[in-house]
């Protein structure tokens, strides 16, 4: 009996993680594709139909930035799990990159969008999921 219980331990862990993933999709906006819940290939609620737009502001500057290759991983993490933590990591990454290049960046705004497709016609429509603003320490 004891041996049988040990054999079930990995399955119990799988079930706990997968149940937690479902909760995180509801509470934190985690994409069903990730997080160990086996929701891949079940929904369009994931990349590339979730995407971020990044805007930087400084006294003489206000512009949108394309996601550079060096920040792709942070952007992907924020798209998959748009929590404060992931969005702040991305915002800090943007400011650090701008400062390395000698460009002023006091504030970063990150908009997370999702493309919805209409039932039947599949007509696409963008929907703002979350807006996050970050101000760099002076």
């Amino acid at each position: 009996m004891r041996e049988r219980s040990w054999a079930a331990l990995p399955a119990v862990m799988l079930a706990v993680v997968a149940a937690t993933q479902i909760v995180l999709t509801e509470t934190q906006g985690l994409s069903p594709w990730k997080g160990g819940g086996f929701g891949m290939f079940s929904t369009l609620d994931g990349r590339p139909f979730r995407y971020v737009r990044i805007f930087v502001r400084a006294p003489e500057r206000s512009e949108e930035l394309a996601v550079p290759p060096s920040l792709e991983e942070l952007a992907a993490s924020a798209e998959i799990l748009p929590s404060d933590l992931q969005l702040e990591r991305l915002a800090r990454g943007v400011i650090a990159r701008e400062q390395r290049r000698g460009r002023p960046a006091d504030e970063v705004r990150i908009d997370l969008w999702r493309v919805d497709f209409a039932v039947g016609s599949l007509a696409p429509r963008d929907r703002l999921l979350r807006r996050y603003e970050f101000r760099a320490a002076p």
């Binding site: 054999a7 997968a18 069903p32 086996f38 290939f41 929904t43 991983e73 963008d126």
Partner: protein, 262 residues
Amino acid sequence: MGPWFVRATLLLLSMLGLISGAWLRAPALWLALAVLVAVRVVVEWPLPDNHIYLLAYWCLGVAMALRFTDAPSQLARSSRLLLGLVFAFAVLWKAVLSPDYRDGRFFAVTLLTDDRFSDVVQLIGGLTDAQLRENREYLTPLPEGAELLTPPVLHEPRRFRLLVFLATWGTLAMEALAAGLWLAPVTRPSLLLLRHIVVLLFCLTTYAFAPVAGFGWLLIVLGMVSCVPDDRWLRMLYVATYAIVLLYSEAPWASLALTGLG
């Protein structure tokens, strides 16, 4: 395979297991592998794919099984539960939690927009290259308030609709059957055989299209260790399926067929 310290250690430990039978049967080695894979999941959270989690559970299952005298049956039990739960959660997501799966939107949009499916969509779905391009244009949202003078049209020939229907409901039916058969305490030989047939069929059909061979190989390993010693033919079928999934991932079969058909 994660950050360098995880990757290097994983490769070294795997090498030890491959060159020495004693290491291969050491629970500590498998426990270390499980921990390393788990570290990768944590360090790269939330990016890792679901089969990386499954790999960690599987390594832990092997480590647990090797601690006991009847390791093969412990391993089979562990694998049976893992397989059943993987399919059960996949069914839960598709059948209950994702409305865009049930109404066919998921496969319709994915097949049309994901480059990796473009050959299959033309070969089986009957779309021309030009129709596929126009469909992609149609599925790209315009900026708020914008309107095109001649908006693109969505082409959905009968063959494409059939492909979407089969992909949606065929996948769900196979996964539901697999979940039921692997989680239920079946004892009838015909049902035990059916368990394996479903996994083999799932791998042979799904991984011809889905670009995640690593997941397929893991499912095959989980199924194979659940065979009893007399299941020589079944094991060979699993090995053959492993090779076919490998070929699917390496050979652009749909592109070759499309070129061959002119």
